[in-house]
C-alpha cells in the first residue's frame, strides 16, 4: 500500500497521460470507462505517436469527461458534437491524430448524424465509443443501444424500441475499421486502439461497458464484477464477423472482435486528389504542397516507428 | 442626378440574369457609373418569367430595387405580358421580334424589336440570344457604352465562347445602330 499520494502520482505509469491534479475522477465504482482509459493510455504509449500531436475530443455525458482527464490537447464539447469538432480540428491541422472518446448516447443518439457522415467521408479519426446501454449522467434513460425489454428510467416497463447494432451501423455508413470489445478485454482493446492510431481513415471501436449504478442495478444484473464475469463467459470472439450478425440481445451472447479493416482514401486524400487535378502539382493546402506534406508525414512516421520500437524494446527488456 | 431603372426579362435559360450582370459590371467598372443589380430568387424564379433589375445612377444608388422601369427588355411573351404595363409614357420597350406578339402598337412607348434568337441561330446557337439582345440594347438605349460592355464580358461568359459572344453582341449592336439610323423607334402598324 502506498500512503504518499504525491509519490504515487509521480510513479504511476499514467502520469503524462492523465491530468493527475484532476484525480480522483467522477465515475462510479465499477464503471468501465476508467479501464478503457487505461487501454487508451497504453495504446498511445505503445503507438509511438508524439503525445503533443494527439487531440482528444469528447461530447457530453459520463464518457464525455474523458477529455477533461487526459493530459493531451483536449476539448469537452457540447452534447453529440464531438465528431464534427474533431473533424474541424483534424482538417485544420492534418498532422494531428484526433481521437473521439464518448458514449453511445452522445455519439449515436444526439450525434448519430455526425457519426454516419464522418464514417461516410472516411474522416481520419479514431472513435472510441463507450456503450453502457444508458444515459448515465442524466440518470439512466433509454439510449439507441438499450437492448429490447431492458428497463431504463424512461422505459420503466421495458424497452420496446429496436436497438442499433453499432458495428453494423458504422460499417454500413462506411467506416474502414470496426471493432467491438468489452471493458474487460483491456488487452484486446489496447491492441485495437493501437491499430486504429496507426492507420488512416475512420476507425470505430465500440466498448461494451457496465453502468453499475443505473443500468445494472435497474435490470438486476449484479455489480461490476458480475458484469465483467458475464463478459468473460458470454462473449464470442469472431474476427471478421459479418456486422449484420453483431446485434446484442438483453441476455444473449455478445460477439466481439475486429470486424472490418479496409483501405479507402480518406477525406483529405480525396480533397488532395481533386485539387491537384484542378490546380496542378503546386496545389497547396495551408501553404504546403502534397509532396511536402507527404514527406513530413513520412518523416513523422519514421520517428513514430523509432519511438514505438524503443517502447517495445524497453518492455521486452523488462520481461526478460 | 440621372437615374435609370432597367428590367431585363425573359424565360429561364435565356441568360437574362447574365444580361443584367454584364450591363451592371460594364457600367460600374468601365463606365464610371453606379449600378445595383437585383434579381428574383427561389421557386418563383425557376422556369416561367425570369427577371433581373438594374438601377443605374451617377451617384451612389440608395434604393436598390426598381420603382418604375424606364427600360424593359422582354425576350419572351410571358415576360412582356407581365411587365410591359409598368413602363411609363415614353418608356423604352425592347422585345424579341419573333417570340413576342404585341398587344398593341404601344404608341406612347419607344418600341424596339430585335430578332435576337434568329440572329443567334445564324451564329450557330440560340444560346447567344442574350448577347445579341444586349448589343441591341446598348445601341438603342445608350445607357452604357459598347466598349464597356465588351470589356465586361470576360469572366461572365465562358472563355472558349468569348469570341462568338462578342460577335453576337456586335451583331445586335449593329442592328440597333441601323434601326436608330432609320429614325429611332419603329412604329408597328
Amino acid at each position: 500500500m502506498i500512503t504518499d499520494l504525491g509519490q504515487f502520482k509521480e510513479d504511476s505509469p499514467m502520469s503524462g497521460t492523465l491530468r493527475m491534479e484532476r484525480m480522483p475522477h467522477i465515475w462510479c465504482p465499477g464503471c468501465g470507462i476508467g479501464s478503457e482509459v487505461n487501454a487508451f493510455a497504453e495504446a498511445v504509449k505503445r503507438s509511438g505517436i508524439d503525445p503533443k500531436k494527439l487531440v482528444v475530443v469528447s461530447g457530453i455525458g459520463c464518457t464525455g469527461r474523458v477529455a477533461g482527464y487526459v493530459d493531451f490537447d483536449s476539448i469537452h464539447t457540447t452534447h453529440g458534437r464531438a465528431i464534427p469538432v474533431a473533424t474541424g480540428i483534424k482538417l485544420a491541422n492534418p498532422e494531428l491524430t484526433v481521437v473521439v472518446f464518448s458514449g453511445e448516447g452522445d455519439l449515436t443518439g444526439i450525434g448519430g448524424n455526425h457519426l454516419i457522415h464522418a464514417a461516410r467521408r472516411n474522416m481520419d479519426l479514431v472513435v472510441i465509443c463507450n456503450n453502457n446501454f444508458t444515459y448515465g449522467m442524466t440518470g439512466g434513460q433509454v439510449t439507441p443501444t438499450t437492448p429490447s425489454s431492458a428497463i431504463a428510467s424512461t422505459t420503466p416497463y421495458g424497452n420496446y424500441e429496436y436497438p442499433f447494432s453499432l458495428p453494423f451501423l458504422a460499417d454500413a455508413a462506411g467506416a474502414t475499421y470496426v471493432a467491438r470489445w468489452t471493458s474487460m478485454h483491456v488487452r484486446n482493446l489496447t491492441q485495437s486502439i493501437e491499430e486504429a492510431l496507426a492507420r488512416k481513415g475512420f476507425s470505430f471501436i465500440e466498448v461494451i461497458s457496465p453502468c453499475t449504478t443505473l443500468y445494472l442495478r435497474r435490470n438486476r444484473l449484479g455489480d461490476g464484477v458480475d458484469m465483467l464475469q458475464n463478459y468473460q463467459e458470454n462473449t464470442v470472439l469472431k474476427h471478421g464477423c459479418d456486422t449484420r450478425e453483431t446485434a446484442i440481445d438483453f441476455s444473449g451472447k455478445i460477439v466481439i472482435g475486429k470486424f472490418v479493416e479496409k483501405d479507402k482514401p480518406t477525406y483529405l486524400e480525396a480533397v488532395d486528389k481533386c485539387c491537384v487535378k484542378l490546380v496542378g502539382d503546386d496545389y497547396q493546402l495551408y501553404g504546403k504542397t502534397v509532396p511536402e506534406r507527404e514527406a513530413e508525414e513520412k518523416a513523422e512516421k519514421e520517428r513514430v516507428a523509432a519511438r514505438r520500437a524503443a517502447v517495445l524494446a524497453e518492455e521486452a527488456e523488462a520481461n526478460e | 442626378m440621372s437615374t435609370q431603372e432597367i428590367r431585363f426579362s425573359g424565360f429561364g435559360g435565356q441568360g437574362i440574369i447574365r444580361c443584367a450582370l454584364i450591363t451592371g459590371k460594364a457600367l460600374s467598372l468601365y463606365d464610371d457609373k453606379f449600378a445595383t443589380m437585383t434579381q428574383s430568387f427561389g421557386p418563383e424564379a425557376r422556369g416561367s418569367a425570369c427577371a433581373a433589375q438594374l438601377v443605374v445612377s451617377d451617384e451612389r444608388v440608395l434604393y436598390p430595387y426598381i420603382t418604375q422601369p424606364g427600360i424593359l427588355m422582354a425576350l419572351s411573351q410571358e415576360a412582356y405580358d407581365k411587365y410591359y404595363g409598368e413602363l411609363p409614357k415614353g418608356g423604352v420597350l425592347i422585345v424579341e421580334q419573333d417570340l413576342v406578339k404585341l398587344h398593341s402598337d404601344h404608341a406612347d412607348l419607344a418600341l424596339m424589336r430585335v430578332p435576337a434568337t434568329r440572329f443567334a441561330e445564324a451564329l450557330g446557337n440560340r444560346l447567344f440570344t442574350n448577347l445579341v439582345a444586349l448589343g441591341f440594347f446598348t445601341a438603342v438605349t445608350e445607357v452604357v457604352t459598347a466598349d464597356a460592355m465588351k470589356k465586361a464580358l470576360p469572366g461572365l461568359v465562358p472563355d472558349r465562347f468569348l469570341k462568338i459572344n462578342l460577335r453576337a453582341f456586335e451583331k445586335g449592336y449593329e442592328h440597333g445602330l441601323q434601326l436608330m439610323g432609320q429614325g429611332a423607334a419603329e412604329s408597328v402598324s
Binding site: V55, R81, P84, G88, I89, A92 | L21, A152
Partner: protein, 388 residues
C-alpha cells in the same frame, strides 16, 4: 490590436461587380480565413459556393457538413486547430448553430458567422429579405453571453466588415456575427478589393511562453489574451462547463460569476472601442433616424426628401449592432425631439432604443414584417410626424 498585412494569396485585388454573399467570402479569404464549414441555405449559399470555388487556389479548406450543428462544431475544432474560420447561414440555420455559438462564447473561440437574414419565423420567406434575427444574434444561446454583431449595407461593406469581423473576433476571442440580409447578400454592386498590403488583419495570437504558465483564459474582462493551437504542446483543455483559467471545470456559483462577468465585460465594457456608427447631420437635428443594413439605405431616401421639406433630420447608421450603441443613443435622446426606428421586423431594435432613450424623447417604430424593404414614403411619414 496588432495588425499585419493580409496574405496576398487570399486577396483577389481589383474592382469587381459582385453580390454581398460573394463579397463576404472574399472578405473572409482576405482576412486570412482558411477553413470554412457550412450547410446550404438560401439566401446565404452563394458565399459558401464562392469559398468552395476559391479554396483550392488559396490553399484553404472548404467542407460542406451534414448540417448547421456540425458546421459550427467543426469551426470550433478548426479554430483550436489553429485556423481562422467562418460559416454562413440564415435564420433557420442560425437557430441550429445557437448551441455551439454558446460553446464558442464559453470557450472564447474566435469565429465568424454571417447570417444573411430572410423572412421568418421558421422556414418563413426563404428568398425574401428581413432583419428579424437581431435579437436572436444576441440572445440566441442560453445563459448570459455577449457577442459582437456587424451589419453591412452593401456588397462593398460585406467585404470590409468581413475583415473587421475577423479582426474583432481574433482580438476579443468571441464569435462575431455579420448580420446582413437577403437584399444585400444578393445585390450586385461594385466591390473594390484593395491590394493585400493595404488590408490590415489581426493575426492569431498564440501563446509561446513556458508550459507551466500557460493559461487558455484570463478572466479580466478584457480582450487580447493569447490562445493556443492543438499540437503546440501546451495540452490545453477547453470545456463548455464553468472553468478556471486552466480550463478545468469548477462548478461553483462564485466561479460562474467570475466567468460570466468576464465574458460580458470583455464585450460590453469595451463597447466604446468596438462600436462603429455612421452619422450624418445628427448634431442639431430634431429627428434622428436610427437604422442599419439595407434599411439605412432606404431610410436615406426618406431623409433626403424630409430635408427638402425643411425638416432637420439626421441619420445614425449602426455598423456595429451588438454591443448596442447605448452611450450615443442616451446622448441623443436628451437633444432630439424624436428618434425614428425603421427595421424589417416587428420591432426589435426599437426596444433597445426605447430602453436607452429612457423616455427622454419620443421613439417611433416603423416596422415592416419582412419579405421586402420599406416603402421610403412610410419612413418619410414617420419623420414628418416626429418633427412636429
Amino acid at each position: 490590436m496588432n495588425f499585419v498585412s493580409a496574405d496576398p494569396r487570399g486577396v483577389d485585388a481589383g474592382p469587381h461587380f459582385m453580390d454581398g454573399d460573394h463579397a463576404l467570402a472574399e472578405g473572409a479569404l482576405a482576412a486570412g480565413c482558411r477553413f470554412f464549414a457550412g450547410y446550404p441555405i438560401t439566401p446565404s449559399t452563394e458565399a459558401a459556393e464562392r469559398f468552395a470555388e476559391r479554396a483550392p487556389e488559396v490553399g484553404a479548406l472548404f467542407i460542406q457538413m451534414e448540417d448547421e450543428l456540425a458546421s459550427i462544431a467543426a469551426l470550433i475544432g478548426a479554430a483550436w486547430g489553429g485556423k481562422k474560420v467562418m460559416t454562413v447561414t440564415c435564420g433557420p440555420g442560425f437557430s441550429l448553430m445557437v448551441e455551439n455559438i454558446g460553446l464558442a462564447v464559453m470557450t472564447e473561440t474566435p469565429l465568424v458567422i454571417a447570417n444573411v437574414q430572410r423572412g421568418g419565423p421558421s422556414t418563413g420567406l426563404p428568398t425574401l429579405t428581413a432583419q428579424q434575427d437581431m435579437m436572436q444574434a444576441k440572445w440566441g444561446p442560453h445563459g448570459d453571453n455577449a457577442i459582437i454583431a456587424l451589419s453591412p449595407d452593401s456588397p462593398q461593406e460585406c467585404f470590409d466588415l468581413a475583415i473587421e469581423a475577423f479582426n474583432l473576433s481574433e482580438f476579443y476571442r468571441v464569435p462575431v456575427i455579420i448580420l446582413t440580409d437577403e437584399t444585400v447578400g444578393h445585390m450586385h454592386e461594385k466591390v473594390v478589393i484593395p491590394p493585400a498590403d493595404q488590408i490590415q488583419v489581426v493575426p492569431r495570437n498564440n501563446y509561446s511562453g513556458p508550459k507551466e504558465d500557460f493559461r487558455p483564459y484570463k478572466f479580466d474582462g478584457q480582450g487580447g489574451h493569447p490562445m493556443t493551437q492543438a499540437g503546440d504542446g501546451y495540452n490545453f483543455h477547453i470545456t463548455g462547463l464553468v472553468h478556471d483559467e486552466r480550463g478545468y471545470p469548477v462548478m461553483t456559483p462564485e466561479q460562474g460569476k467570475t466567468v460570466v462577468t468576464h465574458l460580458m465585460e470583455k464585450i460590453n465594457g469595451n463597447a466604446d472601442k468596438i462600436v462603429r456608427l455612421a452619422e450624418d447631420q445628427v448634431d442639431g437635428a430634431d429627428v434622428v433616424v436610427v437604422s442599419y443594413g439595407i434599411t439605412s439605405r432606404i431610410a436615406v431616401k426618406a431623409i433626403q426628401d424630409a430635408r427638402n421639406e425643411g425638416i432637420k433630420v439626421g441619420s445614425l447608421r449602426l455598423i456595429t449592432i451588438w454591443p448596442f450603441c447605448e452611450t450615443r443613443i442616451r446622448e441623443l435622446a436628451g437633444k432630439v425631439k424624436a428618434i425614428v426606428v425603421p427595421e424589417i421586423n416587428y420591432g426589435q431594435m426599437v426596444l433597445e432604443v426605447e430602453r436607452c432613450a429612457a423616455g427622454k424623447c419620443e421613439v417611433i417604430s416603423v416596422n415592416h414584417c419582412g419579405g421586402a424593404v420599406h416603402d421610403p414614403e412610410v419612413i418619410l411619414d414617420a419623420i414628418r410626424k416626429a418633427s412636429k
